[in-house]
């Protein structure tokens, strides 16, 4: 029983301590507008430091506005945000993702349109990219970066040892490379599909666009066309084809994206298919920068798409709560104008983040980054999970995984997606 009594004493002490701590709490200053900004910048990465530094600078330069940043780990951020939304208690400013992911917010009138200040970025950020955060006539956030989702990182040495001086530009050649690597006992492509989005977001966004062209997805969702389209099925079949030809690591469905990237960094696989988010981590950890190359997805025979395009979507947007008072709205607008500035873009490029604005790049910027950045100049094609409804995303994610383990066929998956779409459109 002594233990219990000790504990009891502990509680009393703790309460007293808590009570003392309470009285020290600072009152919010008179005349200062405080705005809470929610984000997922918990990790110690260069880009997160950039974001936080700009906020600090803003606070230092503005006596009448105080931005309070509150970070939640990425994987839990949306759960928290959605719970908060259900309780009608959203923060003043919040990091949001484009496309279908802001739709529910807009439908619930939770976000303030940024139309009054959108002209501020005219000439800096292309309209095409601003559109990612727009719904109907209204703009709801400004992008700070562009995520290219379909890049091929390759190990120059391993690829040339397999007999390829140039990285394959067609799927046929890529398959030859895969076969050649396999005969050398090198795993061709490392994939970490445990979280089930990479095959869809990285692979299908890129491959399907090559086959179907960039208007396909939009058209199908508007009931002009079908997922059971031959070209779309061809795209899904590529996953089956690659799996069967042993292009992927055997444990692809049990490791996550970061682990598969590590295999590539270690030099145990020749290629890694990923988005521009992988540039920074690869640059940070790889031994020999010169040995890493980056390439767009190859062209596919019979494909109707433009092979110079890359799938990509805007990111880094901060939305404003629609319930702010007029005064607070003004403050929020002022903050956004300050935040999405030339300086932010400059700093992000240094952190290996692709930005939606033209930034001058000096020699300190690595080749891989410049190459990846130039790929975005020919126009972006849609990213599947930024465009599909959550239900459809769930189906295609799981379906692609099923294809890799032989549980379903491309035709079945296409039919399942079409059935879900028709159910939703009813």
């Amino acid at each position: 029983m002594r233990a219990l009594k000790f504990l009891f004493l502990g509680v009393v002490v703790a309460f007293v301590l808590a009570a003392c701590a309470d009285s020290e709490e600072t009152q919010s200053k008179e005349g200062v507008i405080e705005l809470t900004l929610w984000n997922d910048w918990t990790e110690d990465r260069p880009e997160n430091t950039v974001y936080k530094d700009i906020i600090e600078k803003f606070n230092a330069e503005h006596d009448d506005i105080e931005i309070i940043s509150e970070s939640t780990p990425h994987d839990d951020y949306e759960i928290k945000l959605r719970t908060q939304a259900a309780g009608n208690q959203l923060p003043d400013l919040m990091r949001v993702w484009p496309g279908t992911r802001i739709e529910p917010f807009v439908e619930g009138d939770a976000l303030l349109p940024l139309n009054p200040i959108i002209d501020h970025w005219e000439g800096t950020i292309p309209e095409e990219i601003l559109q990612d955060y727009a719904l109907g006539e209204n703009y709801y956030a400004i992008p700070s970066n562009v995520s290219e989702t379909s890049l091929i990182f390759y190990n120059k040495q391993l690829v040339s040892e397999a007999g390829f001086e140039e990285f394959p530009a067609t799927y046929k050649e890529l398959k030859e490379l895969v076969d050649s690597l396999n005969s050398d006992n090198v795993t061709p492509i490392s994939v970490g599909n445990k979280a089930i989005w990479p095959l869809q977001s990285v692979f299908i966004s890129g491959i399907a666009d090559r086959y179907t062209g960039s208007d396909f997805l939009h058209n199908v969702l508007n009931e002009d066309g079908t997922f059971e389209n031959e070209q779309f099925i061809n795209a899904l079949t590529v996953i089956d084809d690659l799996t069967k030809s042993g292009a992927f690591n055997e444990d692809m469905n049990t490791i996550d994206e970061a682990q598969s990237r590590n295999e590539f960094i270690k030099g145990s696989t020749a290629m890694h298919f990923a988005g521009s988010w992988a540039i920074g981590p690869i640059m940070d950890s790889v031994d020999d920068l010169e040995n890493i190359g980056v390439a767009p997805f190859p062209s596919f025979e019979g494909g109707e798409g433009d092979a110079s395009k890359i799938s990509g979507v805007a990111g880094g947007g901060i939305a404003v709560n629609s319930q702010l008072s007029e005064e607070e709205q003004e403050a929020a607008f002022e903050f956004l104008k300050f935040y999405y500035s030339e300086e932010l873009f400059q700093e992000l490029v240094k952190a290996n983040i692709i930005v939606p604005a033209d930034v001058e790049m000096d020699d300190s910027i690595p080749e891989v980054f410049k190459e990846a950045n130039s790929l975005a100049q020919n126009g972006l094609s849609p990213v599947y999970d930024a465009t599909l409804s959550p239900e459809l995303t769930d189906i295609i994610n799981n379906g692609l995984q099923s294809i890799t383990i032989g549980d379903t066929t491309p035709e079945e998956l296409a039919a399942e997606m079409q059935a879900e779409l028709e159910k939703a459109n009813e």
């Binding site: 445990k194 055997e250 444990d251 049990t254 959550p390 769930d394 549980d407």
Partner: protein, 291 residues
């Protein structure tokens, strides 16, 4: 008991604090969730009453029944795996042997360990290419038995279940250890004097004396298994292709990823009543007057 008559007020005072806080902060929210199960709600726009539609859709979803099936495996594995193993180790550790304290502490460690670490380390064991399990199998000449444990729909549940069983043995271990302290040593010694073997005393005396605690553990095990979430969420997230999905995971995804609060609540209602029925059956079969 003679106390009963004069003690109405005391009973009230004794039960009230627990009752109040439990009713407000546990029962009220779950009732609220039951109420949502009759609604269609995305958490952003207003809810609309849809009657039993959510349940109808739920019962028509093969993925839901798949998660129920997997969840029943979890219940069976936990009840038939955790309880006997925990009892076995509790009986071993209730003896006077050297290193007792070390083993007792170590036996409990998995319970306190972060799910993240458990998931990372067991995933490394199960990895198909360089995992410890496959390496061992290959080294002892059983290479043909090597599997893609977490990546194969046929094996993933088995692999996950082993980890689940392992993770919570310690929990029941200490519950049983606590109960074993109540078995009077005199009785056991008397039996030994009469020439009873250790097997006999264990099965004829010790186990019957803690039978009640075993049923308590079985009930905790069933209710815990039907809510199981954390480990599977981190380790496989229900994959590959839903083959290790369980009810709580299904509910979580429907609620927070697809923003169907009403539908997700319908799953929670199902989990609640499903556990209730299972526990009712268990107590009817083995336990007297538990509930």
């Amino acid at each position: 008991m003679q106390l009963t008559h004069k003690s109405k007020a005391a009973i009230m005072i004794g039960l009230l604090p627990a009752f109040l806080i439990y009713a407000v902060f546990a029962i009220y929210p779950i009732l609220q969730s039951f109420y949502y199960s009759l609604m269609e709600w995305d958490g952003f726009t207003d809810m609309t009453f849809v009657g039993l539609d959510n349940f109808r859709n739920l019962f028509e979803d093969p993925l839901f029944w798949n998660s129920v099936k997997n969840n029943i495996y979890v219940v069976l594995a936990s009840v038939l795996g955790q309880i006997p193993l925990a009892l076995f180790f509790a009986l071993l550790l209730n003896r006077k042997i050297k290193g007792l304290k070390f083993f007792r502490t170590v036996g409990f460690l998995p319970v306190v360990l972060s799910t993240v670490v458990i998931s990372l380390t067991w995933s490394l064991i199960y990895n198909s290419q360089n995992g410890m399990l496959n390496e061992i199998l290959r080294n002892i000449g059983l290479g043909v038995m090597a599997q893609n444990w977490l990546g194969d729909t046929k094996w993933v549940m088995a692999a996950v279940l082993v980890t689940v069983i392992w993770q919570f043995i310690g929990l029941y271990l200490i519950i049983f250890l606590a109960a074993l302290q109540n078995v009077p040593t005199e009785v056991l010694e008397a039996a030994k004097m009469d020439g009873a073997s250790e097997w006999t005393t264990t099965f004829k005396i010790t186990i019957p004396m803690i039978w009640h605690t075993i049923i308590v553990a079985v009930i905790l095990c069933i209710s815990g298994s039907l809510k199981t979430f954390d480990l599977i969420y981190v380790m496989t997230n229900g994959g590959p292709a839903h083959s290790s999905d369980v009810m709580a995971l299904y509910m979580f995804n429907e609620t927070f990823n697809k923003l169907q609060y009403g539908y997700g609540s319908a799953v929670s209602v199902f989990i609640f009543f499903f556990s209730l029925i299972l526990i009712f059956i268990v107590t009817k079969l083995f336990g007297r007057k538990l509930i």
